[in-house]
Symmetry: C2
Subunit: 819 residues, 2 copies
Amino acid sequence: MTAVTTAWKSVDVEPVSDSTLARLHGWWRAANYLSVGQIYLLDNPLLRTPLAREDVKPRLLGHWGTTPGLNFLYAHLNRAIKERSQSTVYVTGPGHGGPGLVANAYLDGTYSETYSDVTADTEGLRRLFRQFSFPGGIPSHVAPETPGSIHEGGELGYALSHAYGAAFDNPDLLVAAVVGDGEAETGPLATSWHSNKFVNRTQDGVVLPILHLNGYKIANPTVLDRIPKDELRSLMVGYGHEPYFFEATEETDLAQAHREFAELLDTVLNQIAEIKARPADDDTPVRWPMIVFRTPKGWTGPAYIDGKKTTGSWRAHQVPLANARDTPEHLQVLADWLASYGADELFDADGRLDPTIAELAPEGDLRMSANPHTNGGLLLKDLRLPDFRKYAVDVPAPGATIAESTRVLGSWLTDVVRLNPDNFRIFGPDETASNRLQGVYDATDKQWNAEYVGPEVDEHLARVGRVMEMLSEHQCQGWLEGYLLTGRHGLFNCYEAFIHIVDSMLNQHAKWLKVTNHIPWRRPIASLNYLLSSHVWRQDHNGFSHQDPGFIDHVMNKRAEIVRVYLPPDANTLLSTYDHCLRSRQYVNVVVAGKQPSPNFLTMDEAVAHCTRGLGIWEWAGSEVLGEEPDVVVATCGDVPTLEGLAAVDLLRKSVPELKIRFVNVVDLMRLQDEREHPHGLSNAEFDMLFTRDKPVIFAYHGYPWLIHRLTYRRANNENLHVRGYKEEGTTTTPFDMVMLNDLDRYHLVIDVIDRVPSLQASYATLRQQMVDDRLAAREYTRTHGDDIPVVRDWVWPAAHGATFGAVGATESTGGDNE
Amino acid sequence: MTAVTTAWKSVDVEPVSDSTLARLHGWWRAANYLSVGQIYLLDNPLLRTPLAREDVKPRLLGHWGTTPGLNFLYAHLNRAIKERSQSTVYVTGPGHGGPGLVANAYLDGTYSETYSDVTADTEGLRRLFRQFSFPGGIPSHVAPETPGSIHEGGELGYALSHAYGAAFDNPDLLVAAVVGDGEAETGPLATSWHSNKFVNRTQDGVVLPILHLNGYKIANPTVLDRIPKDELRSLMVGYGHEPYFFEATEETDLAQAHREFAELLDTVLNQIAEIKARPADDDTPVRWPMIVFRTPKGWTGPAYIDGKKTTGSWRAHQVPLANARDTPEHLQVLADWLASYGADELFDADGRLDPTIAELAPEGDLRMSANPHTNGGLLLKDLRLPDFRKYAVDVPAPGATIAESTRVLGSWLTDVVRLNPDNFRIFGPDETASNRLQGVYDATDKQWNAEYVGPEVDEHLARVGRVMEMLSEHQCQGWLEGYLLTGRHGLFNCYEAFIHIVDSMLNQHAKWLKVTNHIPWRRPIASLNYLLSSHVWRQDHNGFSHQDPGFIDHVMNKRAEIVRVYLPPDANTLLSTYDHCLRSRQYVNVVVAGKQPSPNFLTMDEAVAHCTRGLGIWEWAGSEVLGEEPDVVVATCGDVPTLEGLAAVDLLRKSVPELKIRFVNVVDLMRLQDEREHPHGLSNAEFDMLFTRDKPVIFAYHGYPWLIHRLTYRRANNENLHVRGYKEEGTTTTPFDMVMLNDLDRYHLVIDVIDRVPSLQASYATLRQQMVDDRLAAREYTRTHGDDIPVVRDWVWPAAHGATFGAVGATESTGGDNE
């Protein structure tokens, strides 16, 4: 590997030499030829014989429209990188740019180095063409299989978020981010321009946005292409950029286009170098340059097909010749199109690229396809994690102390920040303090490079800081993804209800992880860690519209090898869980934890043991008799359900002393699944040991109740499982009213037990009625006083029930690692 | 009701009179007083006795920061509306604007008319205050309970999308859309400014965006407040607007502020009137005005609390005095704050608003809180629907003809468009033609009011049209929601994988519908109809990243009373289903249907009968013997699973003639649920009749398989249910390879049957092996030829199996209504 030389060099802007021009144009023609070849050709890659019908793929799948523009930019960046030794990542925003990026990686040699069967010869070309959008081959996007990619572009709108995520804490890195004018219409992209207020000139790298304005989407013009040029300029100025315009039409002389763009690119890169060269303490507002790259869609393709305008129109978006095999005329259009690139001049008889053209590319890791930042696992360093046990809350007896779990986590994260000053960041949409992680501001600030008015109101804002807050969940997720994909660590804290905003981003990232798990050269990256707080049960300021625990359900649809969901019931279990998450790789870890004062149940040793198992019996809570089957299992998952479940057991123990109750708590939701479904899953034998094969199980769960059924429908005791959870009831009210409205409250759980344990139904009608009355009284009190009844609000586990944590904590700790 | 007079009047811009000024300021003070009262006061609403600790709510929940600005704007709009008789809707973008909008609705009388217990007197004030953010009361947002609201503002970012949706086809309506500078950072809001390129000057109403730039979010400054004013101006110009700036600080003289804003508002409304007055054929580009309203956060609140800057800072966001009851000093701050509004001058001894102040409000329906457009059901007219039976495809025998289902639907929609020229629109992110609905362009165009270059490329674009396409699912959903909420009809067509982009918007809309179902004065509105095509099995150009059928799962978490999911297996069932959806009210209807050529199975009569039941036995497909239990049930849901299921049955019928197979198809997914869980649910007896109590059921399902288990886990035959569906495998490949990679293919279904019917396991080992071999051969063929094997690709149901549709079609049709 060639070492990456960092630079931010300025060069003299002067006309490119004829030889450079020839290389640029040669490279572009070669990349375009290879792109068209990938879309259409099954065989005969260099057309050594006249193009025949059988040479054309039977199903033409792929996208041409954006590709020549991407190739043009790639060629020119190659020249500049080589001249400046500037480490550069290429982010391909437009969807379906795959053929272009694959072509460029092939031309610079990376592709053959990565995939030894795709050799730099005619047979390699044949394979390169054949595999594209072909069964068993590669997709049309800049997928994980593509060397140099951190961004698929397949779902639209977070090219710039990813680019900025890559730039954070990489002060010497240039990220050339090509933005499609289609994706520019998406919400996430539209707001991501404002990322430039968050990037710091000295701490971070530079993002160069290049708006690829080719004018059309699938079947429509694009908005940004159909507003006056002055308006577009204003928009970019309004976004805080200094825009540079490059414009070429189908009539533009191509040599002239190369000359002009090369000069423009040098001007822009020099401007970036000038900004980077300012003194470190220079706080002059920065206006980063960006480029508007207005070129014809499908540039260099057939101008008309069947008499219809194709190049420079939406008809060039996908496969312009949808049926190249169907008529001799269409076949001829394709043959002429391919011939127009003059492949004979570009590749020798063996299919090797002309060496003078090949010289355009930089060498080694300076090739954008080989930049190590795009295979972030290569650069990943373990976090230095302080011993989370030292941040434990004191738990002399279960429920004897109170803590805000996320605040406790924040004290540990504060030291995580201190120990990892350049590869760990916390992302959140203006909610980090609201989620009670504000302890981290003892160690760092929120990074903010827009205007600053003074310390009276601008608390914890600084030019450089480890906390990134913008009121856009899309941005937080996109920045974090970009940061992780380039080999760093972080977490995203968010209100539970709003995390659905990034459902489709989660999809894409989880799919990326799944695919990279099976690509040997892709090195594992740090997990994507969520901390969902202000959760459905305790987001007191907010009403019905803020209630939704369904992100867990969404995540569970992704592959078991990727996703993990944890619901630690108290502060110490949260610490243990999060330590595990920050050590893990290639997962999506969803952790749901409350921020409100709540009882602590487990000492740190117990917490570690419990988290290591992922679920277990809390013997101190139950009333079962060792060696006998319990009469009923009360199971809980989530902090509020655990509180209510314990309170229910307390009521039962007092009123029905003979009842043998087993209390089970679940931290790691995946443990409920079958071991064949998920690597964390319990065997049936283990499950039956915990939940019995035939006793009623009353399960108090944090989210939508049917998820528990989905996870357990094949278990022997499925039909005795009765789940309470959120069922879309409640609004702004007291915490207890919330659980009551959803039948998750302690009184209702007692009723559930009575109703399901046959022996109780006759003898405890009075107790049952008492529970019904207590519920109504609680509701009445709440509606009159606007508060919970004190006995509910201030409830703690009675020490009399047994203050010590029994056999459950007795096994060896494995360091809080639940794997 | 006072009739709404339409206007677009111009008035002379002149200084407001002193009496008007007094009314404006009086109204504003009253609205602010009522807002503070709602947040803090449990009792003593007019402070007739000195404020006591017990008068203050024990739990202070609510948001003050945005409220005074909202109240200021409301007061000024009242004046202008009255003067111009201009029908106006107020859209409150900032979250938690509830206290302000409730206060204004109370002041103009609407609130007491709507809620007769909240009277216009002291007792009414007490109730008004008490109910806010109180158990059993109303939320902090501009919730459905708030008269005049179509937009909760509780989840952030679609104020402008909703506003434009309301404006479409309401040429005389002004929509004043207040945009919070927090929500302005979200993606959906950032792109929604571009809606102005889609609204038409003559066909549609006018949206007046008012950027409420109060500078702070929960704990941070806002981006748009911390960029130079020129940059903000450029941004708004870049968005296509003419910005007007209003700026007030804490030092601004309030009378002067009223004077200036009144003048500015008149100038802006005159400019709108001038634009509206241009000749109908004037195609000059329109630059609509917008207002930047820069005012202090928490304006008129306490400047400092506990020595910390409060008004004009993020500390004013929520409840500035978080513990007003805790110390005498804090109580005094609240008392002084409340006193500052001079409630004695605003309300008489009985608590009635001073009549001269009350005169500020317009009358009847011109009051923004009473505008009928904000209770869209009042204005809703049934669609005129052509008889969908006339668009039926011919089905001489099952599988004998081929159609693209969505194209057939498009032919019917074409006439729906023709018959409903002013209250029906089709929304889609650049995919309407891709989803094969392009037939509608025979009747209409895509509405496009940006630049137009000519017919050679701008096909089907026009200044006015029924199809709305922008490459933002957020915009499509937001526009459609706004259109529906104001009493019109429409549908959203989208690629299945990308619909997750609007997961959280769906949440909010479904929750809105749920709440309005229980608000008597809210009239039912048309359902939100999705058409998801380019679905997971047949989106051939796209790879793994485009595959996700999980929107169904997401929707299923919402209340059963709201959500409906249909998977019609062919063209005629799709027609019948969609006719039903467009007739329905208050639902979210999700319809998943393919666009690729696919066999038709049911004649229209059969389709209507089948859709009416929602699921049923296809006797022609199975081989069961009347009066005997089948050996196995093959069930399918979704078009591709149905094709594979039928092909599997065909293989079985040929190879295992003695096997008694029942074939069940499910159109209405909710039928699988228990009747106690969903109004469409089957009783256990019905379910057992169809699926037996103990025979193997092989279920081929369109989406994630565990959803079927979740729906059926309580059914008697649950443990014999074996579901195949999408399990996150596949990428760009052939259609058959996709089903094969996910074990949903015909061969695998046959193997599933053999493995689960005990009598077959021994005797049909050869057949089983043949299936294994056939799968491998198909895969090999696919990977070699890039195409499906012809027998798979061109498969049709063999007529020999029985071409007629038996007893299943014999019941009475109920007109395709599956309710």
